[in-house]
């Protein structure tokens, strides 16, 4: 039970009592698993993510990390937010942004780890630039470096590639998968991009329209490492993609006809 890195158990959340955002969301994530959460637009994915991160407490139900409840984000949890231009500290350079979570670590170790993280995201050359001097993709990579430098066990990603162009998105996807594999991270990716979800994940959780609950969990056992070209042409990929897409579209139509 407490081996699961994350347990969502009947999580319910409402800002306004008559209009719950999440209703009875339940699923589990095992250590090392790459989980993708998809659903129709506006179904409450970000709210769910904030509950998972313990930035917010559910009204009902429980969010358990390794079987434990947390009032505040657990120390081994990292999160990459969607709006990278709002999540990087504008008064800090890239290097200092990345080092932000390492203030209790000794200088030498901190410098080494920061350097390693910058290398993993290919930002060594930009270490002394400021966020406003970076492109969108670079800013998101900086946010990613900041999240992994603290050596998390669980990495949350909130639609991290939504605001970058398609080419950058592909590069970032590969980069994230590579990092997660090398660091043996458990990863939870919230996305509206179904291709991305199936391509990157071991399991796809499909949410219903608001109030969100889990419609289905679909295992993705495509072989790793996955390739942007070849994997996406395999019949298995297309089949899974079709399944997820159909489910999400059904939910979206339910939402509009409701």
């Amino acid at each position: 039970m407490s081996e699961s890195i994350l347990i969502m158990d009947g999580v319910t959340k409402a800002y306004v009592p008559t209009a719950p955002i999440l209703k009875d969301v339940s699923f589990r994530q095992e250590p090392g698993e790459f989980l993708a959460v998809v659903g129709p637009s506006g179904c409450g994915k970000t709210t769910m993510l904030r509950c998972i991160a313990s930035l917010m407490q559910p009204d009902q139900g429980a969010v358990l990390h390794h079987g434990q409840h947390f009032d505040n984000p657990p120390p081994w949890l990292s999160i990459v937010f969607q709006d990278y231009n709002r999540s990087l500290f504008p008064w800090l350079s890239v290097r200092r942004n990345v080092a932000f979570g390492l203030r209790h670590v000794g200088k030498e170790e901190r410098d080494a780890r920061v350097q390693g993280a910058l290398k993993a995201v290919n930002l060594e050359h930009a270490a002394d630039l400021y966020p406003w001097q970076l492109s969108g993709g670079m800013q998101q990579r900086c946010a990613l470096a900041r999240s992994i430098v603290v050596q998390p066990k669980l990495l949350l990603l909130d639609e991290p590639f939504a605001s970058v162009d398609a080419q950058t998105r592909i590069d970032l996807q590969d980069m994230v998968m590579d990092i997660c594999r090398k660091m043996s991270l458990s990863t939870l990716l919230v996305t509206h991009d179904i291709d991305e979800a199936v391509f990157m994940a071991d399991k796809v959780v499909v949410l219903s329209t608001r109030p969100a609950r889990v419609v289905e969990e679909i295992g993705v056992d495509l072989p790793r490492p996955r390739d942007q070209l070849t994997t996406k042409e395999t019949p298995d990929f297309l089949h899974l993609r079709h399944r997820v897409y159909t489910l999400v579209r059904q939910q979206a139509q339910k939402g509009t006809s409701a």
Partner: protein, 264 residues
């Protein structure tokens, strides 16, 4: 467009006007001598005298010391209190009415109370300076703290920062642009309060200097003193702007990009 000619013409006008005004003054002082119209060279002499020797000690230094202490107290107190009040949003309805009342008290009205409580001491003058100049900083800090982007605070929380750490490592830098705007206003108010406190209740300092020279009809010294106060004010303002420019260099770049361009 003859850019160079367009730069020279206004400059010429300005130099011309300045020269003309000075010439008129000098002419008037020489042909129609009056107690309030000293010749320019006397004013210049008085000005130079102020910056040397024991006048420097008895007039300029005491003023600047009071100004510095009062102003810095106001900035520090205003920042700390403002950041806390702005961040802890729940406190706002409690303190709002009291703050709104205090900030509109004409600061000079506090002077007699300060005299009563502290006597004609430097503590009194520093108190008056601080009281007058704290509010722009306080209000700016409250506003700045309130507007910190929630995402930045989330990042701080996920990284396990305590409340104190969040206030000083995230809220303070994020609010700094607004705080500096308040500090600029506070500086000019501090200068005014310094002069007022020295006009009404002091026995040294620049305000006292100009008042005493007025009573002795040493008018050139009065003008010299006024010019000195202006010089100090200008120098401090420029220094503050330079500090702001260097501390907030990230903000100018930031503002150039995103629409409203604020971290707040």
């Amino acid at each position: 467009m003859t850019a160079r000619r367009n730069r020279i013409a206004p400059l010429a006008w300005q130099i011309g006007m300045t020269g003309a005004l000075l010439a008129i003054w000098q002419w008037a002082a020489l042909t129609h001598p009056a107690p309030y119209l000293p010749v320019l060279q006397n004013i210049v002499a008085g000005y130079l005298r102020l910056w040397h020797g024991d006048l420097l000690q008895s007039a300029i230094v005491p003023s600047m010391v009071r100004l510095a202490i009062g102003f810095l107290i106001a900035v520090a107190a205003g920042c700390v209190a403002g950041l806390v009040l702005g961040y802890l949003r729940a406190l706002d309805p409690w303190v709002r009415p009291v703050l709104e009342y205090l900030r509109f008290i004409p600061a000079v009205a506090i002077l007699p109370a300060a005299l009563l409580l502290f006597g004609p001491t430097d503590t009194m003058r520093i108190f008056v300076i601080a009281f007058g100049s704290v509010f722009p900083v306080l209000l700016a800090a409250i506003d700045g703290a309130r507007r910190v982007d929630a995402v930045l605070l989330d990042v701080a929380r996920v990284n396990g920062l305590s409340l104190m750490e969040r206030l000083f490592r995230v809220v303070l830098p994020a609010a700094l642009p607004l705080i500096f705007a308040g500090v600029r206003i506070a500086l000019s108010i501090a200068l005014v309060m310094m002069v007022i406190s020295e006009l009404i209740a002091a026995d040294d300092g620049l305000g006292f200097y100009i008042l005493r020279n007025q009573r002795l009809f040493q008018t050139a010294n009065v003008y010299a003193g006024v010019l000195t106060i202006g010089t100090i004010g200008l120098a401090l303002t420029l220094a503050l702007l330079a500090i702001e420019r260097s501390v907030l260099s990230w903000h100018r770049g930031w503002r150039g990009l995103s629409g409203t361009g604020s971290v707040i």
